[in-house]
């Protein structure tokens, strides 16, 4: 069978449609009235509906044309994971019980106007998974399968897909998950590597950083089946998870330096590419907006509690530091390598997620920052923990309060 035959014969292959939509977007931005909405003909929606309605059939057909063996799903138990908005984590087991699971999840590719910085009114038409930046944290165990239903709402402006760094093949699933407005797709992949991994939208070309820098990324944590361990193999357990997504935004400005406002998702496309090409973010924030995790959004903990801080940074390098605390155990890469211990600052490679475990020993307010402090203080990458408990004078005490000095 000619593996290229289909795309030559089919007038609207995925690739063609993708190119078309990029061009249409750029043309619309430059004001070409011919491309006024709706950008896709109704025919497209009808096709999308038809495709969605017969997903199961389509899958069968692909299997029939393939030489590949069908996946062996015997021994797997299906479970549904209800995803929750960051900074929280879905219900999960730290140590897997029973045999391997097929973890069913659903994500909607929602395009929504989000405030990035209240002080300046800077906003963005965020491209999201399930409406949040970052996308929700997914948790499974090594050897489990993840079965994602990815739905693109009919009123979306753009196509979306997903590339799981934790998965193997087909561009991380990106090649098999392109969904246009009004379409859904189901992808199943096996989690063979334990660790924290980023996932992100990757529709192709310049659309990849465009989507990623509009918030379309998140993390999956693949735990070892017997849970986290220190270098000696002793179990490590946490009381809660704090899930941070570090997001670099490149928001276009007008001639006065004010942030531009756009009427719809995608309208900022050409301006955004120019801003992104500078490589200098206008904002670099945790969980979508300046101050999202401070004040009334601050994280809560108690002395003696152990928190696992999962940090996703899909695009830029980051160096998280917990001001007033430490990383007792840090997994910068995989969970199969022994954790680094007693870290002051650790490293999250851009295109990566990492985990750090800390047990609070002192009450107060802790700032979790990117310790490029310019980014922390001026670009927004600061979160706060408010920790209750008894002060420990052995660990620290103000021996003399500020008083006059002759020095």
């Amino acid at each position: 069978m000619n593996r290229f035959g289909k795309s030559i014969d089919t007038p609207t292959s995925r690739r063609n449609v993708l190119r078309g939509s990029v061009l249409a977007g750029a043309a619309a931005v430059t004001g070409a009235g011919a491309f006024a909405m709706p950008r896709r003909a109704p025919l497209r929606t009808a096709r999308a509906d038809a495709a969605s309605a017969h997903l199961h059939k389509v899958a069968e057909q692909m299997t029939a044309e393939s030489d590949a063996k069908p996946a062996d799903l015997s021994g797997y138990t299906r479970v549904r994971q209800e995803l929750v908005a960051p900074p929280f984590a879905p219900e999960h087991e730290q140590v897997a019980t029973g045999g391997p699971k097929i973890v069913e999840i659903t994500m909607d590719t929602t395009e929504r106007l989000m405030m990035v910085d209240e002080d300046t009114g800077a906003s963005i038409w965020a491209l999201t998974y399930n409406g949040s930046v970052p996308g929700p944290l997914i948790i499974c165990h090594e050897g489990d399968m993840v079965e994602l239903t990815l739905r693109n709402p009919a009123d979306s402006m753009m196509e979306h897909n997903i590339d799981f760094h934790a998965s193997t093949g087909a561009l991380g699933g990106g090649g098999l998950t392109h969904v246009y407005p009004g379409e859904e797709v189901v992808l199943r992949w096996k989690a063979t590597k334990a660790g924290c991994f980023t996932y992100h939208c990757a529709p192709g070309g310049a659309m990849i950083p465009y989507h990623v820098c509009h918030g379309m990324n998140g993390a999956i944590m693949v735990l070892p089946r017997d849970g986290l361990k220190d270098a000696a193999g002793n179990p490590l357990r946490y009381d809660s998870i704090a899930y941070f997504g570090e997001q670099d935004y490149y928001l276009p400005r007008d001639e006065n330096g004010d942030y531009r406002f756009y009427e719809a998702a995608g309208d900022d496309y050409a301006d955004s590419l120019d801003a992104m090409a500078t490589l200098v973010p206008t904002h670099q924030v945790f969980n979508g907006a300046v101050g999202a995790l401070t004040g009334d959004g601050a994280l809560k903990a108690k002395v003696g509690e152990t928190v696992l801080m999962v940090h996703n940074s899909c695009n830029v390098d980051s160096r998280p530091h917990l001001i007033g605390g430490h990383g007792d155990y840090v997994w910068e890469t995989s969970f199969t390598d022994p954790p680094l211990t007693n870290m002051e600052t650790w490293f999250v490679r851009g295109g990566c997620a990492a985990a750090a475990m800390y047990t609070f020993e002192q009450p107060g307010v802790y700032a979790y920052v990117n310790h490029n402090l310019i980014i922390a203080a001026l670009k927004g990458a600061t979160a706060h923990f408010v920790v209750d408990g008894q002060w420990n004078n052995d660990l620290m005490e103000q021996v003399v309060a500020p008083r006059p000095t002759e020095a």
Binding site: G121, A367, A377, Q398, P404
Partner: protein
């Protein structure tokens, strides 16, 4: 908490009103403007004084200084910053914000020199008196241990919306002073000191008046939310003036 110690800033260039200027002002001869003074620059003050518990009284500017008022100082070349209302707004009756104490001092010096009047920043006590009726109740501290005073005023609820609004969008006090609450914090002339500070030491930070207590280094224009600043920093920094003399001027 350290007690609030009020004193007039040594370096605030207060306000050397010459005898001639005073004479001109008292005569009310607007035509005599020896230094190009424009009486339209004068701030609108409350007709009624704000009376302190010790019986002293002062008059307060009704609104925070606006971008329009500020830019007349910029036009005169006396204020380095030129301000704009928020993006998309053309009206100039927005509070002038993004101002350090140094910026504010430029304005104060210019206004007093051109008008021949003596305006000043309020003291912290005056500011609190002005705002007593319109401020939300101070929340209980979230920590009480002395080693946690630095964190005790951290606010996890009741934080005001940070988006700037036009002048007059917030409350009005019984004396007719508006916008003491809201999301603009106002510079006072009171240095932040511990108890028994060494006299003659420089002042590095000042109290600002707003919905919660805050202390801001004199250089800061935009109290960024982040880093080690674990308090609940003000959203915007602006100011209003007070005068010991009654209007009209």
């Amino acid at each position: 908490m350290p007690t609030a110690t009020s004193f007039r800033l040594a370096w605030l260039p207060v306000i050397g009103v010459s005898g001639l200027a005073v004479a001109v002002a008292f005569l009310g001869v607007a035509a005599l403007r020896p230094w190009g003074a424009d009486m339209t620059d004068l701030p609108s003050m409350t007709p009624r004084p704000v009376v302190m518990s010790d019986g002293s009284a002062f008059y307060a500017q009704i609104h925070e200084v606006t971008t329009g008022e500020w830019n007349r100082c910029a036009d005169a070349g006396a204020c380095k910053l030129r301000l704009r209302p928020p993006s998309g707004q053309t009206d100039t009756s927005w509070p002038a914000t993004g101002l350090s104490l140094i910026d504010v001092t430029e304005y104060l010096k210019w206004l007093n020199e051109t008008s021949g009047h003596e305006f000043r920043l309020p003291t912290r006590a005056e500011w609190r008196r002005m705002a007593a009726d319109v401020l939300p109740d101070a929340p209980d501290p979230i920590f009480t241990d002395p080693n946690l005073t630095w964190a005790s005023s951290y606010l996890v609820e009741g934080l005001v919306d940070r988006r700037l609004r036009p002048s007059g969008s917030w409350s009005e006090s019984p004396e007719g002073v508006v916008d003491l609450d809201g999301n603009v914090w106002e510079w006072t002339q009171d240095c932040f000191r511990g108890e028994g500070f060494a006299r003659g030491a420089r002042c590095a930070a000042y109290h600002v008046g707003g919905e919660h207590d805050a202390v801001i280094p004199y250089l800061v224009r935009d109290p960024a939310r982040g880093g080690c600043a674990v308090g609940s920093p003000p959203a915007h920094l602006g100011f209003r003036l007070v005068s010991d003399d009654p209007p009209p001027f």
